[in-house]
Structures are given as structure tokens and as C-alpha cells.
């Protein structure tokens, strides 16, 4: 019998601890599929960050390290500079990357570190219980902006791809989503491209994945995918923001 679907080799057989409907697990699977497709598993190292994906090391079947909050790109820098032949990626949420780790994000990108950042943007701090993230939309309610994010008080949500695209060290930037099968196909291609760019030594690559957090948003999973379409994507347009190979 022909096997048409199975667990990617790069994924472990551990059940993940994400909430029902969460996009992190989808992002992991697409990452693993891209790594498998390129045959990079044996020389791949992952960096888990702080947030819902803190146990990402459990879900992949290759070497992993868990980093302090926001510091994953710095940790990845130390790994890649010490082992130049490897493939190093970080998996970070919006609070980790765009708030506490903003300096590490900008400077690893600017140095053109040959690493890949997989950035899951779900507009909220999930693990700590639904606080306002740097990417929380204006008017969106969270446990630390209960009347909705007020830009007069909290500023506007940060668009990471737009922020990084003018840095010379950046080789590849794309924003994708995991709310529909069509978007997931594009996400997988983007991840594959990012790893290829890293393997060729062209510079820093980042794939921003707009992802649903039904628990943090107080929505049913089936509603959260539509909410992305109606609210997230208009503010965070999908697409390629930089591609030095194009």
C-alpha cells in the first residue's frame, strides 16, 4: 500500500501541549516538512524561546536548546558562528521576538546572521494568560487592555517584516498565515525558501506566521480562523517583503 500521509521525520512522536485550535502546532509541522524536504534534519539545530512554544524541543526530532525570553537570535548566533555548517532556526512568539527580544531580532538581522527566525504572530501573550502583545491590534481586548488596545497609551502594533526589510543583512522575509489550507501551502513554501537561503549562506531569514490563538482571543477555533482573515491580515498584509534571490 502506498503511504500518502505521515508524520514528518523531523517531528517527534510526542503529543504537543498546545490548546485546541492553536497555530503553533501547524507552524511546527510545516517547519518539519520543509526541513525534511530539503534533507537538513541531521545538521539542524532549533532554539525554543519563552512562551507557549517553550517546549518546542519536545516536538522535533533533532538537537534543540531552550533560550531565555527574547534571546533566541543571540543564542542562535553563538551556535551558528561556532558550527558554521549547521542549520539553525529559532521559533519565537510575538512577545518574545518583537518586545523583550527586539534588540536581538534587529541586530541579528542587521549582522546578517545565517539563521532562520520562525516568528509566530498571534497578537497576544498566550502562555501567561492573554496579555497585550506588541502586535495586539488597536481596539483588541486582552487582560492588560480590557477596554481594547488604545494606541494613545500603548502605541500601535509593530509590523516586524516592514521593520526589518530595509536592513542590509536580511536575505529573506515573508509573512504567511496558517488559518486556511491555501495559506498553509504558502507558509510551507516560505519556510522552505528561508532554510534554502540560510543553507546558501545568503544572510538572515525570517518567516512571520500569522496564527490563531482561540484561547487567548476568547473565541471558538472555527471563529478564530475567520477573525484572522477579517482583522489580522488587513493590518499585517501577507507576502514576500524581501528576497535577495528574486
Amino acid at each position: 500500500m502506498k503511504k500518502v500521509f505521515g508524520r514528518p521525520e523531523s517531528m517527534s512522536d510526542k503529543a504537543n501541549m498546545y490548546c485546541p485550535g492553536c497555530g503553533h502546532g501547524l507552524a511546527h509541522r510545516l517547519t518539519a516538512e520543509a526541513i525534511d524536504a530539503l534533507g537538513l534534519k541531521d545538521r539542524c539545530m532549533g532554539v525554543a524561546s519563552v512562551g507557549c512554544s517553550v517546549f518546542a524541543d519536545d516536538y522535533f526530532d533533532f538537537d534543540f536548546i531552550q533560550a531565555a525570553h527574547g534571546r533566541a537570535p543571540a543564542v542562535a548566533t553563538g551556535m551558528k558562528r561556532s558550527k558554521p555548517g549547521t542549520i539553525v532556526f529559532t521559533h519565537q512568539g510575538d512577545g518574545d521576538l518583537a518586545s523583550i527580544g527586539a534588540a536581538e531580532m534587529i541586530h541579528s538581522a542587521n549582522r546578517g546572521e545565517k539563521i532562520t527566525v520562525i516568528f509566530v504572530n498571534n497578537a497576544i501573550y498566550g502562555m501567561t494568560g492573554g496579555q497585550m502583545a506588541p502586535t495586539t491590534l488597536c481596539g483588541m481586548r486582552t487582560s492588560t487592555c480590557q477596554l481594547g488596545r488604545d494606541p494613545e497609551v500603548a502605541g500601535h502594533p509593530i509590523r516586524v517584516c516592514e521593520l526589518l526589510k530595509d536592513l542590509e543583512g536580511v536575505a529573506y522575509l515573508e509573512r504567511v498565515a496558517v488559518n486556511t489550507p491555501a495559506h498553509m501551502n504558502k507558509a510551507k513554501k516560505a519556510l522552505r525558501k528561508a532554510f534554502e537561503v540560510q543553507d546558501k549562506g545568503l544572510g538572515f531569514s525570517l518567516v512571520e506566521i500569522i496564527s490563531q490563538c482561540p484561547t487567548g482571543w476568547g473565541q471558538l477555533p472555527k471563529d478564530s480562523v475567520g477573525w484572522i482573515e477579517e482583522n489580522m491580515i488587513p493590518y499585517f498584509p501577507l507576502g514576500v517583503y524581501k528576497d535577495v534571490t528574486a
Binding site: 534543540f64 536548546i65 533560550a67 531565555a68 543571540a74 558562528r81 561556532s82
Partner: protein, 366 residues
């Protein structure tokens, strides 16, 4: 490389020792008075085919070291007090994940931005951990440029032996001064023991994971007890010190680093003047604190005088080690102030005549 006698700045001696010790990764951020070390590494690490990164912050530097050390290479960073405060995050993670690294704190006056004068006021930060959680850092205290070189190599070796960060607690004088020293190569270093856990090429083996998060009930307590056992072993085996004329001394001075140099000069002056005999216990490890030798001389009834460039921080460890067995006096300077030989001598004479402990501070303290 052959043995070589050279004249070198203290900060540069640390860099040269690190390169000879096989350090493959350095990350640092500019801060006075340790800049010569970062500058030295920026040139000589690439020359030796090793990695150098000028990081965006001290926080990033130590986290780069965390990543580098995880791949099994010898890695280091350096800074001065304010920067070491920022590095405490990564140091705590490295202790929790049991990763070796070496770092140097070329101490300046604090608290806050303080000044750039030599100080020893980061003693608590170094010996108490400085970051969060139940952990220890091995702390070495050089007093010459030769020792900056030698203890850097030892620092890498101890870090590897115990899978724990090890540091040098220097100061602005030690980092900035030039002295002759002999450069030597360390004993051959075989990193293959790291293959059991280092990250990298996972072909043909099961995956390696490095982490400091242990959420399941009881797992962190169990892990910390494993660390505790290791720390006990370090306390038992690695206490280091140097004794000068202690056996016939009327007063035994306890000091480290620059203040120990002043103490030793004062002790030599005292032997010439002949009215008081001074001995010196110069501490080479600050953690583990050489409590056994301090206790031994306390129990012999020797009067002890702590000389430090901080307001009694190290004296607390002497008090803990002596448990009231003898009087522990203090000559303290702070904020970049240095003790003079005359001050040490005058204080020692007061200690000799006094029935209880004597405390001498810079003018204006009383």
C-alpha cells in the same frame, strides 16, 4: 606555541590566555575598564580562525556564549560591573543547563554607573550568584598579570570539569596595568567528553537537548540537588589561596586581588620596621571561599584583618568561616578608593593593641 616572556596589559593577557586555552567563541560589548580585552579578541580571534562578535548588548553577549557553549566549544565573554549585572540572566541559564563558560569582570566602582576606578564591590554579585535561582559560579581572583593569564586557563578548565560557568573577578588596575609575564600553553585539551551532550550534527544518534526548564513537579528540586552535590564537591576540592608569613604573625591579613598586593607590601614594610609581624592569606578562589584555611588560623587565635575595596562584603565570608573563633577587623575602601600600605600598617597596629575588632573606613564615613 612556545613559552614566551612578554610585557602585556592585564586585559590583553586574559585574551591571549583564552586563545591558547582553545576558546573558539568570544562575544563582548564595550565598557571601561575592560575594553582592551574585547579589542584584543576582535583582532586575534579571527586571526586564529575563531569567532568574534561585538554584540548589541551584554545581554546578547552572554546568550551568544550560551549558544556557543551548547555546541561544545570553549566560549567566553567579558565586561565590567554594570555589564556583568546584565549578563546574570545568561549565567543563571548556563548554571541551570550545566554549560561551561568563562567570563571576566574587570570591576569598576558602583553602584549604578559609578565610576571607572578599580573596585572590589562586585564581590557579593560574583560569589552569591547575582542572578536568579539556587546556583553558584566559580570565582577566581588574580593579583598579577601573570595570574590573569594563568587563572583564565584554569577558569576554562574548571568550567569544563564541573560544567558550570567560571569567572575572574579582577579590577580596573589589574586590567589596565602592564607587567612582565610568561605565556605558556595549557595542557592538551580534549573536548571529546562533550560529545555526549553537545548540539550539532545529530546523524546516527538520538537528539540532544539543552534546557533549564523543568516544570514537572519535583524535577527541578531533583536537578537542583544534583547541582548542590556538585557545588559541595567544588567547595571541598577547589579552595585556593597563598600564604605569606602567617605562622609567626601578630595579625593575619585576608585580602585578594589588588588589595592583597597592598597588604603584602605592608607586611614586607612591617618586617623591616620590626614592631609588628604581619602575615597575609591571599585568596585565589572567592567561591569556593577558602574557609578551611581561614578557620584554621582563626582557631589558632590569630587576629584577622580583612582589607578590601568594598564595604565589608568579603568580611562576611570571613565571619562565617571563623564562627566567632577570633576577632575579624576591617579596613575598607569603596567607590574606587584604594588602601595604602601605611593605612594597612596603622590599622594592623590598632588591631594588635585592641581587645575587640577594629573597623576603619575612608574619611567621612563616621
Amino acid at each position: 606555541m612556545p613559552e614566551e616572556r612578554v610585557l602585556m596589559k592585564g586585559n590583553e593577557a586574559i585574551g591571549e590566555a583564552a586563545i591558547r586555552a582553545g576558546c573558539c567563541f568570544y562575544a563582548g560589548y564595550p565598557i571601561t575598564p575592560q575594553n582592551e580585552l574585547t579589542e584584543y579578541m576582535s583582532y586575534h580571534m579571527p586571526e586564529a580562525g575563531r569567532a568574534f562578535v561585538q554584540s548589541e548588548s551584554e545581554v546578547a553577549a552572554i546568550n551568544m556564549v550560551y549558544g556557543a557553549a551548547a555546541t561544545g566549544v570553549r566560549a567566553m565573554t567579558s565586561s565590567s560591573g554594570p555589564g556583568i549585572s546584565l549578563k546574570q540572566e545568561g549565567i543563571s541559564y548556563m548554571c541551570g543547563a550545566e554549560l561551561p563558560c568563562f567570563f571576566a569582570n574587570i570591576v569598576r566602582g558602583g553602584p549604578g554607573l559609578g565610576n571607572i576606578a578599580p573596585a572590589q564591590s562586585d564581590y557579593f554579585q560574583a560569589t552569591r550568584g547575582g542572578g536568579h535561582g539556587d546556583y553558584r559560579t566559580i570565582v577566581l581572583a588574580p593579583s598579577t598579570v601573570q595570574e590573569l593569564f594563568d587563572l583564565t586557563i584554569l577558569g576554562f578548565e574548571l568550567a569544563d570539569k564541573y560544567l558550570n560557568p567560571a569567572m575572574i573577578l579582577g579590577d580596573g588596575i589589574l586590567g589596565q596595568m602592564r607587567e612582565p609575564l610568561v605565556l605558556r600553553d595549557p595542557i592538551d585539551y580534549d573536548p571529546s567528553f562533550k560529545n555526549d551532550w553537545a548540539l550539532g550534527n545529530s546523524a546516527g544518534r538520538s537528539k540532544h537537548v539543552i534546557t533549564s526548564v523543568r516544570l514537572a513537579p519535583g524535577t527541578l528540586e531533583k536537578h537542583n540537588m544534583k547541582l548542590f552535590k556538585k557545588y559541595k564537591e567544588i567547595e571541598e576540592k577547589e579552595q585556593r589561596y597563598e600564604l605569606t608569613d602567617v605562622d609567626d604573625a601578630d595579625v593575619v591579613i585576608i585580602a585578594y586581588g589588588t588589595s592583597a598586593r597592598v597588604a603584602k607590601s605592608a607586611a614586607a614594610m612591617a618586617r623591616e620596621s620590626g614592631d609588628i609581624r604581619l602575615g597575609v592569606i591571599r585568596l585565589i578562589t572567592l567561591w569556593p571561599f577558602p574557609k578551611d584555611i581561614v578557620r584554621e588560623y582563626a582557631e589558632k587565635g590569630k587576629k584577622l584583618l580583612v582589607v578590601e575595596m568594598s564595604l565589608g562584603q568579603m568580611r562576611e565570608d570571613v565571619l562565617l568561616a571563623t564562627c566567632g573563633a577570633t576577632d575579624v577587623s576591617l579596613l575598607a575602601h569603596t567607590g574606587g578608593g584604594l588602601p595604602t600600605e601605611e593605612e594597612v600598617l596603622d590599622t594592623a597596629r590598632k588591631v594588635m593593641k585592641s581587645d575587640g575588632p577594629v573597623e576603619v573606613y575612608p574619611e567621612g564615613a563616621e
